[in-house]
Amino acid sequence: MGTLRWLWTQLTSMRTALVLLLILALVAIPGSILPQRPVTPIRVSDWKRANPALADVYEAVGLFDVYGSPWFAAVYLLLLVSLAGCIVPRIAVYARAIRTPPPRTPRRLDRLPVSATGTTTMDADAALAAGEAYLRGKRFRTVRTADSVAGERGRLREFGNIVFHLAFVLALAGVAWNQLASYTGDVIVVEGQAFSNNLTQYDDFRAGAAFKPSALEPVTVWVDGFTAKFETGEVQRGAARAFSADVRWAGTDGDVHAQTVEVNQPLRVGRTQIHLTGHGYAPVVTVTDPSGHVAFSGPVVFLPQDGNFTSMGVVKAPDARPNFLAFEGFFLPTTIVDDQGPRSVFPDALAPSMFVNVWTGPPREETGRPESVYSLSKEGLEQMTTADGVPVTFKIEPGEYVELPDGSTLSFDDWRRWTKLQISEDPGQWLIIAAVGLAVAGMTLSLYVRPRRIWLRVRPGGGDALLVETGGLDRAESSTGLGEDVTALAASAGAVDAAVRGTDETRGGQLPLDNREDAP
């Protein structure tokens, strides 16, 4: 029992909080240096391939998911427990403190960090009343006794401190709730196509443990057009300048709304946000098989490989007969061909073309096994060759068509843009933002409000005049103006030129009446 108590005292001490904070800062660092799986899974696998010796060790200790690792959680959970253990008792103390009057006047005011003495010609009552009025005017709470006035102010400091720490807990609670209930999904939509918000439509979907598919906002979005503008001037040539998508959307009520979505202006439907997070090109092609049947027709999403949108993709025509046909190749929005080979030199589609290989093989059975639409499994396929055995590859521009050795054709009808929509809902977000706002407010109070105690005593000093004594102390470091308050208080009681002892410079040391060391 004794040990437990000791442990608890240690855990909730200020020093432990401090050390835990430093540890938290330290353990957050590896996650900024190493690629993290939840953020960039591809870079994690690249890294592991490049550093096979370290990969397993790092994996075992969770270095590729630092912020989800048990040891990271251990640090912040300990910090939370410490915080609760520290702040809850302080709430009780505070609740008691606001109901107690300012502390009674110490016997020896001249022992306080700052004090002053002088004489007054007022009578005792008038002097005390004037002193009290002065303190009230400066927003001290006061208590008057027969020969003295005690004043106190600045309890908002502790209030702010408590608010801040509680708000911090609240913000973390918001983060946790959000983690559980939020979802984020991506889907690529070509101009002219639409997206309906249900799970089957997503290319990629991540959700917290408490997410239910029924929580998806029923919304349909038609992407009518996507505009991309790029820098054409000399500086930062090719940098993105503006993206926008013209969409129509309809929610549960079926009303259709038209809207323009931009990078910083997501579409909001209820609590669901729809962001533009990427874009690219989709060549529109038509494939006919040797018998002249259209085996495929439509836009095909190609994925950008570099900043100039050299894009890679596959056109598959599983319905082509007698043989399965597939075209693998690059779409180059602004094509040049030089000694580095064909590539794109600008992200906009100024001189689009495709460079294509042809693959063919026996018709595929429906296996039901899903295959990526962006890559081609070459199992059972071979590259189509000309009569003299050279693989068929060709360049094709919009409006052209190419006839292949087996009599099938590929025509490059047109191109469109696609945009990647990110659909997400963060139910805990407002709580987090409100809590952080509250934390800033509380913190500001606790950093700027300066608690101060001050006393005035009047007593006979021999002769006609009464002796006026004042004294005060600050409960926070870095307060100024205590000396002024103490002399002004004496002056208000009629002691205009009271002699002052002590200065503000004594602040910051151990304060006699108040053991604030290692609170609680």
């Binding site: 200020m14 020093r15 909080a17 401090l18 904070l21 430093l22 938290l24 800062a25 957050a28 660092i29 996650g31 900024s32 240096i33 690629p35 939840p38 953020v39 870079r43 690249d46 890294w47 912020y67 983060v175 984020t184 820098e231 001037g233 500086v235 930062q236 940098a239 993105a240 300048r241 503006a242 993206f243 931009e262 990078v263 910083n264 202006q265 997501p266 946000q273 962001h275 997070t277 570099d306 990110q422 997400s424 963060d426 977000q429 933002i433 952080v436 706002g437 934390a439 800033v440 913190m443 500001t444 950093l447 700027y448 470091e477 870095s478 410079e505 910051g508 604030r516 290692d518 609170a519």
Partner: protein
């Protein structure tokens, strides 16, 4: 054209700050052996160099501000779109704050470190970080971005001033402990006053930094649909925040107030700079690595 004038003004400011730093270095050198009270002649020379340094800094600042403003005019937007612009704006704010302190409090002693910071910072900005004027990428078209940057630049300037004071606190305290400060150190405020100044500035900066992170998160949510994604920039702003939270706790913890708190303050500044500069330079390297 205007952009050229802007660059010219920035380069001149770097040079003038360098001259100011030289004047302050002479100020320090001439304080050696010249105890202010014992020999007024020596003291006069020290002060003269100090005044020259401040005057030069003021001239440098005029040029610096012209550079920042013209940059904004040339780009036809607020000049906070890239690292070059952040660094130059933030340093202008440091210089303004410093001159206000000199004017209101006579704190010429900040001269050497501040001009060192300014000349190194402006020097790096015009050589390493410089980029030609260009419009913003779409993600930066946001009020939240502006709020975020103003808050970041302001708290950054404050963190730096507080860090300088903390550094002097450590030096001066050491001197006081080993039998009194000599040379220029004797002209610094007392260790306790330096500590106090450092705290006051940090106390201003910390809530603002908290707000900076909040505004950044709100902006990220507009731009990317997520308010926190643990990217290196976000992580390091949190690390910086946590270090300063530790600093504030240290100040009320026995055995940690004073020297250790000052060290935490310095670690905080280091982490701020790392986030500001290091993350961009180093971790973009990781990005390009991953692009292969």
């Amino acid at each position: 054209m205007i952009a050229t004038y802007s660059s010219l003004a920035m380069v001149s400011s770097a040079v003038i700050y360098l001259l100011a730093m030289t004047a302050h270095a002479l100020e320090w050198a001439s304080a050696r052996g010249a105890d202010a009270k014992a020999s007024p002649a020596g003291g006069g020379r020290v002060e003269r160099f100090g005044r020259i340094g401040v005057a030069l800094t003021a001239v440098g600042l005029l040029s610096h501000i012209a550079g920042v403003v013209l940059r904004g005019v040339a780009a036809n937007r607020l000049p906070w779109g890239n690292m070059y612009e952040f660094v130059t704006s933030s340093l202008a704010l440091v210089a303004v704050a410093y001159l206000v302190l000199v004017w209101r409090r006579g704190w010429v002693w900040l001269g050497l470190p501040v001009t060192l910071l300014l000349s190194v910072g402006q020097g790096l900005a015009v050589t390493v970080f410089y980029v030609a004027v260009a419009p913003l990428v779409p993600a930066l078209h946001s009020v939240w971005f502006i709020i975020h940057i103003v808050a970041a630049v302001t708290s950054g300037a404050a963190f730096n001033l507080a860090g300088i004071a903390a550094l002097f606190y450590l030096i001066r305290r050491r001197a006081e402990a080993s039998g009194g400060a000599r040379g220029y150190l004797a002209r610094l405020p007392q260790a306790s006053a330096l500590d106090d100044f450092s705290f006051r500035v940090n106390r201003f900066a910390f809530p603002l930094w908290t707000f900076t992170i909040l505004a950044g998160a709100v902006w990220a949510d507009y731009a990317w649909g997520r308010f926190w994604g643990w990217d290196p920039k976000e992580t390091w702003s949190l690390v910086t925040w946590v270090v300063y939270a530790a600093y504030l706790h240290a100040r009320v913890t026995a055995g940690w107030k004073g020297v250790r708190a000052a060290w935490l303050c310095l670690i905080g500044v280091a982490s701020f700079w790392f986030n500001f500069v290091g993350v961009n330079l180093l971790f973009s390297g990781f990005h390009s690595y991953a692009g292969i």
